[in-house]
């Protein structure tokens, strides 16, 4: 708003100011706070994050401390979730493991969506040959199941590699994200404000980041939030087949896959890590749904 309009139209300006207080994001936050399930998800995730950040204060034992007198002990008062094959307290390992799993899920989702955003914006805005080249590549990637792409990339980076796992997971779901982002850019391209920006000779980066980006970011955020839960699940799956973060680290999937060998006699080694993954993914899905309804009420059905 230019300073001129303030002096000429004071009344209208006041009305506008009131409206401005309810920007798109603050409205979305208000809607999210009214969404019970979304709030359950948000609070649950915050609690999980808090628990893993304060792990040393909360965990009753060290995640690496072995107590050979209590190997594969069933859940008891001292060890609420029992101990594993090396006598380590499962509850403490799960608390520390949140650090790996949450970080991997969050970073992988962010990396994937960010890469998809850049590629999708380029494809959608440039059009023509660039668009064709990017989208045909995505078609090829899409013809390989996402889990498989993650597996191949994880192999390329070698196992036991934190960053490699994140990139592998992020790349797995990239094709869908690029496709969605490109579609959004194509609709935004038809809008008049974009023609106006082009008409006043805005530079391409400016158009992309000041005009296109704010209009597609909300959908990408929704994709990111729902992606985190999925990434945590796929990361655990990678650990099960021996890729991704490996057993000495207390990652949830790695704990679960290490427990598989003892499933016949000590099912608690498998039950508790899986339960924690399930609860965590559930919270992220609730939050993702809540966010979608909050950011884009039109989608609500």
């Amino acid at each position: 708003m230019s300073p001129n309009s303030k002096t000429i139209l004071p009344e209208k300006n006041q009305v506008r100011k009131k409206r401005k207080k309810q920007g798109m994001w603050s409205q979305a936050v208000v809607r999210l706070f009214h969404d019970k399930l979304g709030m359950v998800g948000l609070i649950g995730i915050l609690a999980l994050v808090l628990i893993s950040v304060c792990a040393p204060l909360i965990a009753p034992f060290s995640p690496t401390e072995m107590d050979l007198k209590f190997i594969n002990a069933a859940p008891s008062l001292a060890h609420p979730f029992g101990t594993d094959a090396l006598g380590r307290d499962i509850l403490s390992r799960l608390i520390y493991g949140g650090r790996y799993s949450l970080a991997v899920g969050f970073l992988a989702s962010v990396v994937g969506q960010f890469a998809a955003l850049i590629l999708g914006m380029i494809a959608g805005y440039a059009g023509g040959k660039v668009d064709n080249a990017i989208m045909r590549t995505m078609d090829v990637i899409m013809s390989i199941p996402a889990t498989m792409i993650s597996i191949i990339v994880a192999m390329t980076f070698g196992t036991k590699n934190f960053i490699g796992t994140i990139v592998a997971l992020g790349l797995g779901g990239i094709a869908g994200g690029v496709r969605m982002c490109r579609g959004l850019v194509l609709t935004v391209r038809q809008e008049e404000y974009l023609r106006a920006a082009q008409a006043i000779n805005c530079s391409t980066p400016r158009i992309l980041f000041r005009h296109v980006f704010p209009n597609i970011i909300s959908v990408m955020i929704i994709g990111m939030a729902t992606g985190i839960g999925n990434m945590i699940m796929v990361a655990a799956g990678l650990s099960v087949i021996g890729l991704g973060i490996q057993p000495p680290a207390p990652e949830w999937g790695a704990m679960l896959s290490a427990g598989r060998d003892y499933i016949t006699h000590y099912p608690h080694l498998v039950i508790f890590p899986g339960l924690v993954i399930f609860i965590c993914v559930f919270f992220f899905n609730l939050l993702g749904d809540g966010l979608r309804d909050a950011i884009d009420p039109k989608l609500r059905k």
Binding site: T137, V140, I141, P145, I151, A236, I241, V270, I277, N285
Partner: protein
């Protein structure tokens, strides 16, 4: 319509070939010397060079890629497994039907349960049926497949001892993998079906049908579903491909000798020809499946056919004018 089919067919062939090039290139850059993997850490330099020559990996990249493509697509020879000393193609032929059957049965189960659930939720919008289906879907979408599989093993195989937990032999071996594979998919399909049906529930032609006095059952089955279920069809197709990808973990857990277990064993032992073969076969399979879905989509939805006819006549007109 023929042009549409041909175009999609060409695209599919391109995708399969590109996927093969992609996987070969990626595997080429995977760190580690294949000769060392085969011979172990104590091999002499002469032996290593010998094996490298045998495998043909001392040649330049493009030559290797060329001969790989020639062997795979012209001679249908995907090489020999380094550790099993059997042909990869033969190994595939033996395993593909099992994995396919597993994926097919679990997607059938998913659709048979998920689609009616979604339709039921949508036709009872905001009633208890709807809420029940939504909560059910939410929970089952969040359950990790492999965890459910392990819980099933603990319960049905170890406690009740009624179903086998590994191997293959009788129909019983299929029950647990199919159940655990389907469970996660049911939630997704039910949710998707629900939102698709809800989109047409308030369409004008539904109101018209009701106003004409068409029976409610007929409104749902003849007016609502044919329109609503078209996008669901695509979704079933894509879930099938996801299912095939998901079998890698599932087959590992149930020791089910399909393509997935072949692949994960090959990854563990770094058996490159097998890994390549598995990826190409799965990619080709996925691409062909997507082709079929797209074609059936064009067949079922007259709007797509019409769109295509219009486009070609438009182009013709422009040419005539020019």
């Amino acid at each position: 319509m023929l042009r549409y089919v041909l175009q999609r067919l060409l695209m599919t062939i391109f995708v399969i070939i590109a996927a093969a090039i992609l996987i070969f290139t990626v595997m080429y850059f995977v760190p580690g010397d294949p000769a060392k993997i085969i011979l172990g850490p104590e091999a002499t330099a002469a032996d290593l060079a010998d094996v490298r020559h045998q495998l043909g990996i001392d040649r330049p990249f493009l030559v290797q890629l060329g001969s790989f493509m020639y062997n795979t697509f012209i001679k249908f020879d995907m090489g020999t497994s380094w550790f099993r000393n059997t042909s990869v193609f033969g190994g595939m032929l033996e395993r593909i039907p099992r994995t396919f059957l597993l994926g097919f049965l679990s997607i059938v189960l998913t659709s048979l349960v998920g689609i009616p659930m979604g339709v039921n939720a949508a036709t009872h919008h905001r009633k208890w049926q709807d809420k029940g289906v939504i909560s059910f879907a939410m929970v089952f979408m969040s359950v990790p497949e492999f965890w459910v599989a392990l819980l099933f093993i603990i319960f049905f195989s170890l406690r009740l001892n009624i179903l086998p937990s590994f191997g293959i032999g009788s129909w019983k071996n299929y029950v647990l993998p199919i159940l655990s594979g389907a469970l996660a998919g049911i939630g997704g399909i039910a949710r998707y079906t629900r939102s698709c049906v809800l989109e047409v529930v308030h369409a004008d032609y539904i109101t018209t049908a009701r106003a004409k006095g068409v029976m409610e059952r007929k409104v749902i089955y003849q007016h609502m579903l044919p329109n609503a279920l078209i996008p669901v069809l695509t979704n079933v197709g894509t879930s099938f491909t996801r299912c095939i990808g998901g079998t890698i973990v599932m087959e590992k857990i149930f020791s089910f000798p399909g393509v997935g277990l072949y692949l994960s064993d090959a990854i563990a032992s770094r058996d490159y020809p097998v890994i390549r073969g598995c990826v190409i076969v799965i990619a080709a399979f996925t691409a062909i499946l997507m082709l079929l879905v797209d074609l059936s989509y064009g067949y079922v939805d007259p709007r797509i056919k019409a769109q295509y006819v219009k486009q070609s006549t438009k182009k013709g007109k422009i040419k005539n004018v020019a």
